[in-house]
């Protein structure tokens, strides 16, 4: 089996751009070294069988959950929404966008004007046929006066209108070849025009909602007339909210659920020995774990200090000890190796206490103490990572104070405020989005406060550059700039790890999210 990862915090999730296709296949292949049965997913695809109650145990829910798509922030609601509703765009296992409710699309040259064809003959669970109006409404709720997290990525739309019942035209403020990927954002799901009763959502999905107790469980029933052939094969689907990783694992082992997400990496080896279970791993698409310093604040305005810290972290050791090897070392920027623009020429930065000591000395800070703020609120093992960082710096004679701060309110009170703190980033839809959001001068989330006009210019050029080779050169240079000068130590990118009972078919790897792009309820079936 294969797996991919997903992030868990409120950051919006990214998906692969369609250009990630080829390298995506290669990397998922690499993941198979751990789970050799990975490719069996394709073999299974023979004939899905209908029936059974599929019970999923998932982390990423809360008693405050709602089915209103403007509130989705984590896995449980994403997976739940895709049972009842459909998105505009789906992604194939390699991450390439394919048609869902928008069947196909075409861009005028320059990728500024787009025409989308609405799928015909799709019916809502209330019997109404889905049309362009429903799609316009479902996009409109994320624009204008709204608290939708998708608002930002839809800002580039200057005009969106119905051409006819089955066609929509979109005009963007500037060309964007990846626009269909943007429409694949998980917040954008389709409901009938004017719909507001989010406690009883109506959609075009393969199931209808039976019951919903936020933070406890959701129950779905098969519709039977799903427009996607061979999909939505379970009679009933039950999504249980199980927050504790040990509890999830125990539930899977004792057969109380059929699938779980976010395995504790330390249990993976154990679970892989269990003959009743399948472990699915997707390498290096998960969360990017970082320690971020604000380059405008003392002493981090000193480039040599930043370099010292980057050389002084033992990435391999952290990955081994905290993630049991289920992560890849980061190269001090948040782009991952699955992205086609990932700089393969730049050497992986390694632990080098001598270099760290050299740069630290050059920085001329004496034996100054440096404080790193970390918390379980950043991510579960942030404090462990920080403690190991502290130890590895000792060899370079650098004193790091690790301050454990409150998990509650961490993103409000510490992130973007503390001079040096633990941060994780999720995958972004494209290289452009990664660079613009994490390092762009205009971004509110530029947590290292590294604002470099030269870099912005570089990214702007790359966005407009249509020649892949030239674009690649520009992005390669951008990564070098960040890694060399930026305030971020990105030391690990995790794997997504899912567990399934052996009889669950269709549990394939997906380059976007775990649990088969959060669509295992739709794509799976019982053997």
């Amino acid at each position: 089996m294969e797996e991919y990862n997903k992030l868990k915090h409120m950051f919006d999730k990214g998906s692969l751009s369609r250009r990630d296709f080829m390298s995506g296949v290669a990397m998922i292949g690499a993941g198979m070294a751990v789970a050799p049965s990975l490719l069996s997913g394709t073999a299974q695809a023979a004939t899905p069988k209908v029936g059974g109650t599929f019970r999923i145990g998932m982390e990423g829910g809360s008693a405050t959950d709602s089915l209103d798509p403007r509130t989705y922030a984590d896995s449980v609601m994403i997976a739940a929404s895709l049972c009842v509703m459909n998105g505009l765009v789906e992604f194939d296992p390699s991450g390439k966008p394919t048609g869902e409710l928008l069947e196909s699309w075409e861009a005028k040259p320059g990728a500024k004007e787009w025409v989308f064809n609405v799928r015909k003959g799709v019916k809502f669970s209330n019997g109404k046929t889905m049309t362009a109006d429903d799609i316009l409404y479902s996009i409109a709720i994320h624009r204008g006066e709204t608290k939708s997290p998708a608002k930002g990525i839809l800002k580039q739309i200057t005009e969106i209108k119905k051409v006819n019942e089955n066609q929509i035209a979109v005009t963007l403020e500037a060309g964007n070849a990846d626009f269909p990927v943007i429409l694949g954002d998980y917040h954008i799901v389709v409901v009938p025009d004017g719909f507001t009763d989010w406690q009883k959502p109506i959609g075009t999905g393969g199931y209808t909602l039976e019951s919903f107790e936020p933070g406890v469980r959701l129950v779905f029933k098969r519709r039977g007339d799903y427009w996607k052939a061979g999909r939505a094969n379970f009679d009933m689907v039950e999504i249980r909210n199980i927050q504790d990783p040990a509890a999830r694992t125990a539930a899977l082992q004792s057969g109380q659920v059929d699938a779980i997400n976010r395995l504790d990496p330390r249990t993976v080896n154990l679970l892989m020995k269990d003959k009743k279970l399948n472990v699915v791993r997707t390498k290096g698409t998960g969360n990017r774990f970082c320690f971020v310093s604000r380059v405008t604040e003392k002493p981090f305005d000193n480039k040599d200090l930043r370099l010292a810290l980057k050389y002084g972290i033992d990435r391999e050791k952290i990955i081994q000890q905290v993630y049991n090897g289920f992560a890849t070392p980061g190269n001090d920027h948040t782009l991952d190796a699955l992205n086609p623009f990932y700089n393969t020429a730049m050497p992986q930065r390694k632990y080098d206490p001598d270099k760290a000591a050299f740069h630290f000395k050059k920085a001329g800070l004496g034996d100054a103490k440096i404080e790193l703020q970390a918390s379980e609120g950043a991510w579960g093992s942030a404090v462990d990572c920080a403690t190991l960082f502290q130890e590895s710096l000792k060899k370079a004679k650098i004193n790091l104070d690790v301050k454990k701060v409150s998990a509650d309110g961490y993103w409000d009170n510490v992130w973007l405020k503390a001079p040096f703190c633990a941060v994780y980033w999720g995958r972004r839809l494209s290289a452009d989005q990664t660079f613009t959001q994490v390092y762009g001068s205009a971004s509110d989330w530029n947590d290292s406060n590294w604002r470099v006009p030269e870099f912005d210019k570089l990214i702007g050029e790359a966005r407009a550059e249509l020649d892949e080779k030239k674009r690649k050169e520009l992005y390669f240079h951008a990564q070098e700039m960040i890694a060399e000068d930026g305030g971020m130590i990105c030391f690990a990118i995790t794997d997504y790890l899912d567990g399934y009972a052996k009889n669950v078919m269709g549990a394939e790897a997906h380059a976007r999210y775990d649990m088969n792009d959060d669509r295992i309820a739709e794509k799976g079936w019982f053997a």
Binding site: A246, V402, V405, S406, D408
Partner: protein
Amino acid sequence: MKLFGYKPTATAWLGLAIITIFIVIAVFADVIAPYSESESVGQTWDDPSWDFLLGTDNIGRDMLSRLIYGARMTIGVALVTTILSFLIGTTAGFLAAVGGTVIDQILSRIVDVMLSIPLLIFALIILSVFGSSIVTLVLTLAVLDSTRVFRLARAVATNLVVMEYVEAAKLRGEGLWWIMRREILPNALPPMISEFGLRFCFNFLFVASLSFLGLGIQPPYADWGGMVRDNGKAISFGLPAPLWPALAIAMMTVGVNLVVDWILSINSRPSGASAEM
């Protein structure tokens, strides 16, 4: 040999021995511990071996060394917290019982109100007002704990206040403080000492329970409660790592309470009343 004029029983000796050993370990941690408290010397959760007698912890640090160093923080913080909470709680509790209805109701209701606020919210507010430091931690825990001590102290003292000897003291015109100290305290000691033994041990774990709020022992320093917490997951796949700190807490708990039992038995053995002479 006698202690405070009494001869300890065999079990009391055992308890005293455990406590003494732990205190010696805490004081001489630097000399005894085979590794440093913070250095990651092995793999995650290595099995016990000659190199690591109790194996390693969740990020490869030597478990034994962390237990030894952890004794300092754990015993120190728990002891200070418990003493503080008993000073506050017992005084207030006795005062409530002796001082008459008005004082009693005021104190009792204040405590009720405090206890009624969920711990999480209470801790968050303390944190936002005072920030996180070891002093904040100790004070927070002591205040929270003292409310519980208060309930017990008041309950015990209320029973005593109606006794003849207290009535007599009141009639003699003794002051509140005198009555609390000379009449109530000696007679209320047994349940209070017993409670002290338990609260002290609860506090080993209590200290760690707020650590997700940053209110706790800061890394890389070890404390037993935190060690159980950090390594707790290992037990769910059958690794013994969290057993060691738990065992240390258990031994300390048993040790303290063996001594407590002995002190209690001195107190409750006037005549033929006891089964064991």
